[in-house]
């Protein structure tokens, strides 16, 4: 079956490549809130988050012609946003220090079954209390733009690792929300 969203992305990218200002504006308007939300979860300072978002758009506009698979637009946008945020954070820390993951458990299966997260306000609050590495993967998950495979592409890890990271991140979120309650 043909995916409507994929066609929309392809059309938008094609128009952007042709230099249509309206298309570029549409791209920025439709994605800036989501990207800002993600970036602001990675970077605490709001002003820095806006600067990173701006840098992200500069990179997007410069490289959109090189995007071979327009259907992967969300993955590409989140990857650029994440890399830009990491470069920003790297000025003070090394990446390993920024994202310390416990990779001992590679695959724990689907962890959605026993955890329920449906209160957006609680989750937004909780995301601010958990560690950066948990926030990173959980924000991508809760923004619902990407599949697990796509999140894996952004984080440059196997899908199994994404599942394990999500499991631990959800546990951490659950713990902080319980404590706060």
């Amino acid at each position: 079956m043909v995916d409507k969203q994929a066609i929309y992305y392809e059309l938008l990218v094609l128009r952007c490549c042709r230099g249509q200002k309206e298309a570029l504006e549409e791209l920025v308007t439709s994605w800036e809130r989501r990207l800002f939300y993600y970036i602001h979860r990675l970077v605490d300072d709001e002003q820095d988050a806006w600067i990173i978002l701006q840098e992200t758009w500069v990179k997007v506009l410069q490289n959109i012609k090189k995007l071979r698979e327009p259907r992967k637009l969300p993955v590409w946008l989140y990857s650029i946003a994440r890399n830009t945020a990491i470069s920003h954070l790297r000025k003070s820390y090394s990446e390993k220090a920024i994202f310390k993951y416990d990779e001992n458990i590679s695959n724990v299966g689907d962890c959605d079954s026993n955890l329920s997260f449906d209160n957006a306000e609680q989750i937004h609050y909780g995301l601010g209390l958990i560690s950066l590495q948990h926030r990173d993967v959980l924000t991508l998950f809760f923004l619902r733009d990407l599949s697990l495979e796509e999140i894996a592409q952004i984080l440059h890890v196997p899908v199994g690792t994404v599942k394990s990271r999500l499991y631990y991140a959800k546990q951490a979120l659950k713990d902080v929300l319980k404590k706060e309650a």
Partner: protein
Amino acid sequence: MNKSEKAFSEKLIEMEKPNPTCKEKYEKEVQTMLEKKLNHFWRAGFAVLGMLGLLAAIPFFNLASSRMGQNDLGLFVRIVTVSGTIFSLAWMILMGWIAATGKLNLRNQLANMAAIGIAIGFFFMAYFVFIFVLPVAIIEPTDYRSICGIQLALIGFFFVTTIALCLIISALYRVGFRTQEKLLEIEYRILELAEKMENQQ
């Protein structure tokens, strides 16, 4: 992404309350980035190019509006000079518009600039042939000046035609892009309609 998931992520994003001052600053920066306005130096450059268009239009217009008496080369000269005047004025208007607004979309306007430039080049060559080469060639066909003139004119036409061909190829490439865009648009609308019909059922 289904509707409930979308609603959830929208709710989550709405929880974010950005600082209006920071957001306004960001929006201004992004708008500037998207518009890519030219600085004063570039605008002056385009104004000069516009003036060149006007300077090119003057001789074309003079010839187009004059009566040449016995040496009148007739309809061809009129067509060449009137077309030359029109294209020179079009060049002047395009350059003047870029200089006045400071907005330059290289992808779209560059093609127009090249097309008008080539047309002016072509009509200048024709002008050169009709005014300087042909009159001499008619009177003194074996004179070295008329031979050189014809050779120069042929070389000039060869270059202008080659560049025009390149331009046509790039225009065809752009048409291909546009066709692809239209096809995607149609495909997208069909899917939208299908979705609406499904919801109604």
